[in-house]
Amino acid sequence: MKVLRRLGVDVGFPEDQTCCGQIAFNGGFRSHAADVAKHFLDVFENEEQVVVPSGSCASMIKVYYRELFEDDPETLERAQAVGEKTRELSDYIVNVVGTSDVGAASEGLVTYHDACHLLRELRIKEAPRDLIGGVRGIELQEMEDSNACCGFGGLFSVKFPEISTAILDEKLKNIAESGAGAVVANDCGCLMHIRGAMERRGMNVRAMHIAELLAEDGTDG
């Protein structure tokens, strides 16, 4: 909110919003997901532009609604219209607002984790990196295999916690080896996963949403 306003964007928050429905969709519960997705469309379809701060939610709306509503042409049409005006936050700032400098300032070395759906469904790779590069005082240090999954996978992380954690171990190792003081990502799922394990293990690295980094103005960091 702070970042977008700093850019002069007039931001609203429709208070009836809940969830895009991905949780149920990925669990196979499509009719449940469709109900919730329809609620999402009701809430957002009259907005001019929808900005989503999480890669997997954005890809649910932009990519998987097409599948969810494939047998419901009327809703499919609505979903496609909403999908077209939906943008993930970093993509919105860089490619719609048209800047990679949001006037943020901080200090230190950060590394970036490519969230799976952001990268492989929405093909967003450069925008977040440009934005990190645009923060004064911040240097981006790429980690090994930044595009590798963190092992979250929603339901997967609780259904197969051992495998999920083993995949996460690789990610944490690569984060630690990058020497960065913070890992930035654009997906709430990955962040909850990575942060949860770093805190449990007492790792001295912050897990930050890109908005958190961009909101810093040098006084609070």
């Binding site: 002069g8 609203g12 990925n26 196979g28 499509r30 609620h39 492989r120 259904k159």
Partner: protein, 490 residues
């Protein structure tokens, strides 16, 4: 048919994770395959041409599948024209019976086999042994696991989990060779043992990487030359092929033979591309006297009938999705419990075998999408896994196989997410319930939720924020805005 042990997925994957030797092997082999593939694609084609090759290959395979009856008929005619015989087997039992019948009719004592995944589905070795016929695997990896009494660990590298020490002990036991750590030496031992079998065998069984409809040509892609021996030395050659192996024309191979080795092992070209056109012609100096091609269904129709799942039959068994899968990289192939492992195994095993037994497999993926990106025939594996999950949740495959916790969770979630007020109510309840367990904004353990305890065994869970964002918005943020409920661009 080979036993389906996919119900053990969770237990078996846990065992794999704790097996240090296995972890070591996985790390090295996977890293090698992934790197080799990326390098060769970059140096030979670049992303753009590679992408257009994948698109073309997917289209060829898909259209062949859409008209499979037509092409099966064409193969049948072509092979007969070349002097061979064609069979169609509904399942593993029928296919085994056909092979056994050919063997018995010809008084076969020894069978040499080159690598065939369909034969693993059938469990044909076991059937032959029971009838006193000796089957000998001649692909080195397959030979090793045959001696060890195991199933393939990987589609193209069946014995990648075996160390040289283990291979040496197996050879000492079965071939009475001297112990050695020298891999070259071990290869010589295997070669000596296999030469005798090649010379003695009456029948060769091979798989098929591709079957060309127009010409009736069977194409084999191998690295050891054993495929060539198997298809030319014995008197009888039997080909076992999944019915999805067909490509329409010989020209199509120019594309597939570029895609396959690069995707599989990162090789520009495989060591041996073998093309078999039927039995020996009168003018040929050698080659088999009889040629039999057995097409096997064994559950493939379940895939073909389902319009969404059909594309899984485009698979050319390169193994790239295994090599690149974060889950396979950690647990390897045996945990999947049947012949095919990794992402493609998770897709085909439930519909080809038994959904109930393989019910964990559609969920055994983070849906990260790497498999889809590396697939040479562009199978959208995450989409197919989601489709299977949908079927499971809707109970379309018989018994409901979601857990009561999942159903409870989704029910509650569904109730909360169509109405903001209900959501806030539930969120407040959540705050209340988690408060006793939260320390410094984190929850380390939740005793009453079995689903969450899987998470908290290794990871903290964020405690709900004291105020929801919506409340924060109402109380503080909305005032600064011109349009409290709108999102107008500047």
């Amino acid at each position: 048919m080979a036993e389906v042990k996919s119900a053990e997925f969770k237990k078996a994957s846990g065992r794999a994770l704790r097996d240090e030797k296995l972890q070591h092997a996985l790390e090295h082999v996977m890293e090698h395959f992934v790197g080799a593939r990326a390098n060769i694609i970059e140096s030979d084609f670049g992303d753009e041409s590679w992408e257009s090759m994948r698109t073309r290959a997917a289209a060829i395979k898909q259209s062949t599948l859409e008209h499979l009856d037509y092409y099966l008929d064409m193969v049948d005619k072509s092979v007969r024209r070349n002097g061979g015989h064609v069979y169609f087997a509904d399942d593993a039992a029928q296919a085994n019976a056909i092979v056994l019948d050919i063997a018995k009719r010809n008084g076969v004592k020894t069978v040499i086999k080159s690598k065939s995944m369909v034969s693993e589905e059938m469990g044909v070795n076991h059937i032959l042994e029971r009838e006193g016929i000796e089957p000998v695997e001649t692909d080195l990896g397959e030979y090793i696991i045959q001696l060890a009494g195991e199933t393939p660990f990987h589609i193209i590298a069946p014995a990648m989990h075996k160390t040289r020490q283990e291979v040496s002990s197996l050879f000492q036991e079965w071939l009475k060779t001297a112990p050695t750590q020298d891999i070259k030496r071990l290869c010589v031992y295997a070669r000596d043992a296999l030469r005798e079998k090649f010379a003695a065998a009456d029948m060769g069984i091979s798989g098929a990487n591709f079957v060309v409809a127009e010409t009736g040509t069977v194409c084999l892609v191998t690295n050891e030359g054993n495929g060539r021996m198997t298809t030319s030395a014995p008197r009888i050659h039997v080909v076992l092929a999944g019915m999805e192996k067909i490509v329409p024309a010989i020209e199509d191979l120019a594309l597939f033979l570029r895609l396959l080795p690069r995707s599989a092992t990162g090789q520009r070209i495989t060591s041996y591309n073998t093309f078999v056109g039927g039995p020996r012609a009168p003018s040929d100096e050698d080659g088999p006297e009889e040629f039999h091609l057995v097409f096997v269904d064994n559950g493939r129709l379940n895939l073909l009938r389902d319009e969404v799942m059909r594309e899984a039959l485009r698979c050319i068994r390169c193994g790239a999705c295994l090599n690149h899968c974060p889950v396979y990289q950690k647990i390897g192939g045996h945990a999947y419990g049947w012949v095919y492992s990794g992402p493609i195994g998770a897709v085909v095993t439930p519909p080809m075998t038994n959904m109930k037994v393989a019910r964990d497999l559609p969920y055994a993926s983070t849906l990260c999408g790497t498999c889809k990106d590396v697939c040479p025939v562009k199978i959208d594996i995450p989409r197919l896994l989601l489709h299977l999950r949908h079927k499971v949740a809707e109970g379309a495959l018989g018994e409901r196989s979601t857990t009561w916790m999942e159903r409870l969770f989704v029910g509650q979630w569904h109730g909360a997410m169509r109405n903001r007020r209900a959501l806030e109510g539930k969120a407040n309840l959540g705050r209340l319930l988690t408060r006793p367990f939260a320390r410094g904004g984190k929850v380390r353990k939740l005793p009453f939720a079995p689903m969450v305890s899987g998470w908290t065994a290794s990871r903290d869970f964020p405690a709900p924020a004291p105020k929801s964002f919506a409340r924060l918005w109402r109380e503080e943020l909305a005032q600064d805005n011109v349009h409290p409920n709108g999102m107008e661009q500047r």
